[in-house]
């Protein structure tokens, strides 16, 4: 059934139809609508869930971890400062192998205070062991959420997942979203069967002190779990396509077949880029685009497959790693380094703090990338 909803409410309805059992959250703009709607669902009995209205995001994540450790399907949502406050517990969720699913509305980090989008908040959580799905539309938000639950709760994965969407561009913008039939979804996403639970009838201690002789192996197991997730995400993405008509892949190409140049993008810039590609194609340019859907696990193989042999790759980053370059760019370069016929890779920083990135901006970046004297990385649109 199609409904016109905001990105935020997509997450709320998503939590409901995915049958999240414990939700714990703390309000932060631009995430508030997500949890407002969920609290209505729970209060009205539309959702068979417990909502713990905690006093901080740090506690929200802790509560989700606890509930997940007791065997429940859990969900939370946050943004920027809230995500940063959660940081310690993000590690805890992953290391405790609790498959919590979270919506993170991308918002710039203060100071100064900002509520508009960029990806530094979520990308700063790169090494916490969370899967990250960057969404280009509200439909993408819903589909990612369903797929994330299924992958995260797989007993060979058991790692948490973050659904990432741009503040306001998606969070507060309505779009038609096709919600799957509940019975069909219940079949696709059956209840979570926890492999390890905190259970007085089968008591174990979880997370006790571990020395250098064993900690190392546990980290390897987490990496192995992420490798399995990397295999599983395209499989579940394809399966999802068979069930609901919308297949998902980790790197989604657009008009790339014969393209000499590929623009690598993520989030809502990915959808804008498709329009820019159409116009550039009309102007006779040999260019396509690639949306990177999952940042962790990073789809290195798919990136290599797509970019190998191209003349040039242009990475547009709505983020920056201070003292280096755009973060998706670094990852893309890393994936390509050992390729014999690797393309030249150019990097643009754009749209930080919610500055609009329009079709003409993307086209302009394309043209700037063709000039040798354009600095790299280039802060596109910087007012000098």
């Amino acid at each position: 059934m199609k409904q016109v909803v905001t990105g935020n409410h997509t997450l709320s309805y998503g939590a409901k139809i995915c049958r999240a059992q414990v939700v714990s959250a703390y309000p932060i703009t631009p995430q508030t609508q997500v949890v407002e709607r969920i609290s209505e669902f729970v209060a009205d009995g539309e959702m068979d869930a417990i909502f713990i209205k905690v006093e901080s995001e740090h506690s929200a994540m802790a509560a989700c971890i606890g509930a997940s450790a007791a065997g429940a399907r859990t969900f939370t949502a946050t943004s920027a400062q809230g995500l940063a406050l959660m940081h310690e517990m993000l590690h805890w969720a992953a290391n405790a192998r609790t498959p919590v699913v979270m919506g993170n509305i991308n918002r710039g980090m203060g100071p100064p205070w900002t509520i508009w989008t960029d990806q530094i908040d979520s990308l700063s959580q790169r090494d916490t062991g969370w899967m990250q799905f960057y969404c280009e539309s509200n439909q993408d938000v819903l589909d990612s959420m369903i797929i994330a639950f299924k992958v995260a709760e797989n007993e060979n994965v058991l790692m948490p997942a973050m659904i990432v969407l741009d503040s306001f561009v998606l969070s507060h913008t309505t779009e038609p979203v096709d919600f799957p039939d509940q019975d069909k979804l219940d079949e696709f996403l059956p209840p979570y069967k926890a492999k390890y639970t905190v259970d007085p009838d089968n008591p174990h201690t979880f997370g006790g002190l571990t020395g250098p002789d064993r900690y190392y192996e546990l980290k390897w197991l987490e990496c192995e779990a992420m490798d399995r997730a990397k295999e599983l995400i395209p499989q579940v993405g394809a399966e999802f396509g068979e069930w609901f008509g919308r297949p998902h892949v980790m790197v989604k190409p657009y008009r790339c077949d014969d393209a000499e140049i590929v623009m690598v993008v993520s989030g809502t810039i990915a959808s804008t880029t498709k329009d820019a590609i159409d116009e550039l194609r009309d102007e006779g340019m040999s260019v396509g685009s690639a949306k990177v859907w999952t940042f962790r696990p990073f789809p290195s193989e798919a990136v290599r497959e797509l970019l190998r042999g191209r003349k040039q790759v242009i990475v547009i980053d709505r983020n920056v790693s201070f003292g280096h370059e755009g973060i998706f760019c670094t990852e893309t370069k890393g994936a390509m380094y050992n390729e014999a016929d690797r393309p030249s890779i150019r990097n643009f920083i754009a749209g930080l703090g919610g500055r609009d990135v329009k079709v003409r901006d993307i086209k302009e970046m394309f043209h700037l990338a063709q000039k040798d004297d354009t600095p790299d990385p280039y802060w596109y649109g910087l007012k000098t």
Binding site: Y196, G207, G208, L218
Partner: protein, 108 residues
């Protein structure tokens, strides 16, 4: 749960660091430098030594029996005994007829 757990490599491990055995494999008697000796003749059966033992190594029998495999020699039992039936003696070795203090367990 069994006592000692053998983990040779990564494939013996659960995904999460969870307990698979009990610390009872760890014979903490090797920590001891003073040893409590109970005189059953003096014991009045008040069970305070059982009650206050931090290492759960005094039995709830009459008279109580001290498990020297685990007794760390803290001396709480001797201090609390209202009839001075427990004497702390120098060293780790229990009186004759008892086993020697256990070898320290390998670092887990």
């Amino acid at each position: 749960m069994s006592d000692e757990v053998e983990i040779r490599g990564v494939r013996d491990m659960p995904a999460m660091a969870m307990s698979l055995g009990l610390m009872t494999y760890n014979k903490t008697g090797s920590w001891r430098n003073m040893t409590p000796v109970l005189d059953p003749e003096k014991c009045n059966g008040c069970m305070l030594c059982w009650k206050f033992c931090p290492d759960v190594c005094v039995s709830a029998d009459d008279p109580p029996v001290i498990d020297y495999d685990y007794c760390k020699g803290c001396g709480v039992c001797a201090n609390e005994c209202p009839v001075d039936a427990i004497e702390m003696i120098e060293g780790a070795t229990p009186p004759s007829g008892r086993a020697e203090a256990p070898e320290p367990a390998a670092t887990p």
